[in-house]
């Protein structure tokens, strides 16, 4: 989705960024973390540049939250080098914590205070906080400012979490699966909020298991599987050109045939002449480029994904993206369609 953005956007994000030491926002090399016998993180390398939205994408249990919580300073790593805003999160102090914003995965705390009380209270922790009322407006909770936290809906609760995460004017904001459980409308509103934060110069590191979220928000995404980065690129380039080779399918001798090729037109011409039908048609012909979702499912090793090469099992040519697995609420399928080149 990067292609749809105005070309000046990255530049403007960078120029509004505060004067900070040079170097990337996050740099991780060879990160490992083991729980008992489970190697949760198995040699992850990451580099998040200042001013970008970086997504860590992967299924549940892939090691996303462990990685992010190591970067936030909550967990100790077993191995590897980690620099967040130039410091080691394991030893960084208050001044460093004032420069990051953290939105944790699940939150049901501080139930008795109102939205405005909480945002104002958290603002007092910082040297140079944002104006609490402006933050409440920015996350769209003005109507709920005097409501106690326990009475907020899930989406409102999450926006309060973001308000508390950004009120300290962080240089780097961590969002851990921020839209899990949102309805599609709330999710779109939340994405707009995240993008506006980036416009304001905030670097954002986001974990998600929703492909469409990464596609909509991220400048770059790392796909994590079993504690390792299996792909890292702009969301619409993930997997490289090979993963996007078109698949040609047709019906020959009563059986479905399919082939991956970089030159689908030539292949179709060859098949047409081989079949030699009087009307020149190839029965059941379909040329399909793997959708972002197909690529993603393949990367995370979903058994339902297309095989990387060679003829596939017979697949009905009418196979629609909405039938693809791994879309619990169906929203990613819709977006995968939009995200097609």
């Amino acid at each position: 989705m990067t292609t749809t953005r105005p070309p000046t956007r990255r530049t403007s994000a960078r120029t509004t960024a505060r004067t900070t030491p040079d170097g990337p926002a996050v740099e991780v090399r060879g990160l490992r973390k083991r729980y008992g016998t489970k190697q949760a993180v198995d040699g992850i390398d990451l580099r998040v540049e200042r001013g970008e939205i970086f997504a860590v994408l992967g299924p549940n249990g892939a090691g996303k939250t462990t990685t992010v919580e190591i970067l936030e300073g909550f967990r100790r790593r077993d191995e590897g080098e980690v620099r967040v805003l130039g410091e080691d999160p394991q030893t960084a102090g208050r001044a460093w914590r004032a420069r990051i914003g953290v939105v944790l995965q699940d939150s049901r705390d501080q139930a008795e205070l109102t939205v405005a009380e909480l945002v104002r209270h958290f603002a007092t922790f910082y040297a140079d906080p944002r104006d609490p009322d402006e933050v409440i407006d920015a996350v769209g909770l003005r109507e709920k400012a005097r409501t106690r936290t326990r009475q907020l809906s899930g989406g409102q609760r999450r926006r309060l979490d973001v308000a508390l995460g950004i009120v300290g004017r962080p240089e780097l904001l961590f969002l851990d699966e921020p839209t899990t459980g949102f309805d599609p409308q709330a999710r779109r509103a939340f994405w707009a909020l995240v993008r506006s934060l980036r416009e304001d110069g905030t670097t954002i590191l986001l974990t998600t298991h929703y492909l469409d979220e990464a596609a909509h928000l991220a400048d770059r995404a790392a796909v994590v599987r079993a504690g390792q980065v299996v792909a890292l690129d702009a969301p619409d380039l993930l997997g490289g050109p090979a993963a996007r080779r078109p698949v040609v399918r047709w019906l020959e001798d009563g059986a479905w045939r399919s082939e991956r090729t970089d030159s689908p037109t030539a292949l179709v011409a060859r098949v047409a002449s081989r079949l030699g039908r009087p009307d020149g048609e190839v029965p059941g012909l379909e040329v399909a480029r793997p959708s972002l979702e197909d690529v993603y499912l393949e990367l995370i090793g979903d058994p339902a994904a297309l095989p990387a090469d060679g003829p596939a099992d017979p697949v009905p040519p009418t196979r629609a993206p909405a039938e693809a697995p791994g879309t619990p609420d169906g929203t990613s399928a819709v977006v995968a369609e939009e995200a097609r080149p």
Binding site: Y35, A98, D109, L113, H121, F122, G168, R169, S196
Partner: protein, 286 residues
């Protein structure tokens, strides 16, 4: 968010200090405490209700042995004051910190530049204010409804108030740090009340709160002597009972030195254990 860019102030000042943030935390703690009505009723009015029930049921009776006795309400009040301090310090912190650890409040605070000290100052502020209010209410109830003589009405009122002050402060402090240490024991926020309440109840029964301490079996008195509640109750009796009531104590005196020593010992042990076991995250959270 683009609007916030205009209000941005270029020079960064230093982060606010722990003392100021401690005040902010105290405010937030108090607001949250008084909004949780069930907890307020349980922790806050429990000693008032107990005092009212016991003083009404045993109205006109004396607590005493060998021909010496003091009116029931007068003997009962010091134990209730000590219990109240234990509830607002130990029980309140042990449960609330366990809940805050479980629901992620602590983790969220840990992700901000709030210093750990400020979090604990906030808890101390909460404990002190709720203990003062609770003790005040108990004294008002005892003085107006049950005609219990107040220490400042007695001839040695100054010395009694001084004793009250140090027993109260030491009791709050040791109760609070033990509450912080104990908060790591419950496995979840839900189990916190179930784990903490029996401890408090048992201590109340063996420490001379519900029954006159002199009437308890010797072994029970010995067990109770290990824990701070017995000493807080005894210290409070020395404040509210006539001087000659010291004969009702098993030791025959108020034992102020031993009281201070035991409370300070628990304060130190609680501090060490609390500092070593305190966690910002749940046990099952990595």
């Amino acid at each position: 968010m683009t609007t916030t860019a205009t209000t941005r102030r270029a020079p960064r000042t230093a982060l606010p200090g722990p003392a100021r943030l401690g005040l902010e935390r105290t405010g937030a703690e108090l607001r949250a405490f008084f909004r949780e009505r069930d907890a307020v009723i349980f922790i806050f009015t429990y000693p008032l209700i107990m005092l009212a029930i016991f003083a009404t049921v045993f109205d006109g009776q004396d607590q005493g042995i060998d021909g010496y006795g003091v009116p029931f309400a007068q003997y009962f009040l010091p134990g209730m004051v000590a219990t109240g301090v234990m509830l607002t310090s130990f029980q309140s912190l042990a449960i609330s910190i366990a809940v805050e650890r479980d629901d992620g409040s602590l983790k969220r605070l840990r992700s901000t530049p709030l210093p750990a000290a400020a979090y604990f100052y906030g808890k101390v502020g909460l404990v002190l204010l709720t203990s003062v209010v609770q003790t005040g209410l108990l004294l008002v109830l005892a003085a107006t409804v049950y005609d219990v003589p107040m220490p400042w009405e007695m001839s040695d009122g100054g010395a009694r108030l001084a004793t009250f002050a140090w027993v109260f402060v030491l009791g709050c402090a040791s109760g609070a740090v033990c509450g912080v240490a104990f908060s790591s024991l419950p496995r979840s926020g839900k189990s916190a009340t179930a784990v903490v309440t029996p401890v408090v109840l048992v201590l109340q029964f063996i420490s001379g709160v519900f029954f006159a301490f002199f009437a308890l079996p010797t072994w029970m008195q010995t067990v109770a002597s290990v824990f701070p509640l017995k000493w807080m109750a005894q210290g409070m009796r020395s404040v509210f009972l006539p001087e000659q009531a010291a004969v009702l104590e098993p030791a025959g005196s108020w034992q102020h030195g031993a009281t201070a020593a035991v409370l300070v010992a628990w304060l130190v042990v609680g501090l060490i254990v609390g500092a070593r076991t305190f966690r910002w995250r749940r046990r099952d959270d990595g």
